[in-house]
Amino acid sequence: MKRLARLLLVSCVLGGMLVCTHVDADIAANSAALWKVATLSVVDNGSDGSSAAGNSSSTDVYQFKDPALRDRFLQLTKVLRCPKCQDQSIGDSQAEIAADMRAKTAELLRQGKSNDQIVHYFVARYGDFVTFDPPWRVDTALVWLAPVGVFLLGLWLVIVQLLKARRRMQEPEEKTEDSSC
């Protein structure tokens, strides 16, 4: 019985770890993208507020009059995902489409659009795929709830096993062979 319990516990913990690693990998990929976006040139001392020349993705430069706008640009280019180089943000990717999306993001920011409106603009064209921050909906609930559920399941199993072990220690006279299959 004890062996079975241990087997069960280990398999569930392993299962939980599998799910969690998967989620972690996504988060890690995301934060790697966040880190690398710092390499994208953003000039914040621009006076005219227009985008500078250059259409190659690795050298494009954006100038924003308002530092707040610049911060939002960096934020958005981290959270928007490149459809071509999946698992890279548009701030991180050198794909043509990412460059176009950065240009569009800058354009929409200058038009005074909110972050939500800008993300929505891309979601309407590229689907939920295009954001690293998936929305809360019935069909996406699993993405958000699965890790919590697996964690709670693991927690519950650990507690049950601990309680059982304690009970067994308190009643050492109980025979062990009758409970095994």
Binding site: L8, G15, E96, I97, K104, G127, F129
Partner: protein, 183 residues
């Protein structure tokens, strides 16, 4: 009682494993590069872009009205577009109506290519800066969209269009009344 209950728990890891194995096995054959079009069921976004074939004229979504049409997003810089070109020529010979969007390309180069390799398009418009492509949700050329006579997007095919894609993906919806469409 307690023994019986516990014995069933033995199968939990197996169930867990089988479920995971099935999930992973089903995902093996999927191409992660294919993103479903968010524009499916919507009208083609508005555009008014210069025609490559008729100097001085512009093309708008009105070109889709009243006919089933393929909208093919292509460019001269795109090697896969060269690969699919002969098949588009064959479709055109069979009477399939194809409109081309010359995506982020030099109009002169595109015209020259059509002159040498043949032109499968009833009209081609130049989306030189890719803004129409962005509006449509294009993320790489070639992409082919099935447009119904109401100008709505029925289907998107990413990558070179081949005989097999035509038969398996497009023919099942081609000229079939779409949901909510009035005939």
């Amino acid at each position: 009682m307690a023994v019986k209950k516990n014995s069933l728990w033995v199968f939990l890891p197996l169930v867990f494993f089988v479920a995971l194995a099935v999930l992973l096995a089903l995902s093996l054959g999927k191409n992660p590069d294919l993103i479903p079009s968010a524009r499916k069921g919507e009208a083609v976004p508005h555009f008014q872009l210069p025609s490559l074939l008729h100097q001085g004229e512009t093309v708008t979504p009105a070109i889709f009205k009243g006919h089933w049409t393929l909208l093919n997003v292509w460019a001269t810089w795109c090697p896969t577009c060269h690969i699919e070109h002969p098949f588009l020529m064959r479709l055109a010979q069979q009477g399939v109506r194809i409109v081309g969007a010359d995506y982020k390309d030099e109009p002169d180069k595109a015209r020259a290519l059509l002159a040498t390799n043949g032109n499968p398009y009833i009209d081609v418009f130049s989306d030189k800066d890719g803004s129409f492509g962005l509006d449509l949700g294009v993320y790489g050329a070639p992409e082919t969209y099935v447009i119904d006579p109401q100008g709505k997007i029925v289907l998107r095919h990413v990558g070179a269009l081949e005989e097999r894609d035509w038969k398996e993906q497009i023919l099942p919806v081609w000229k079939k009344p779409t949901e909510g469409a009035s005939l």
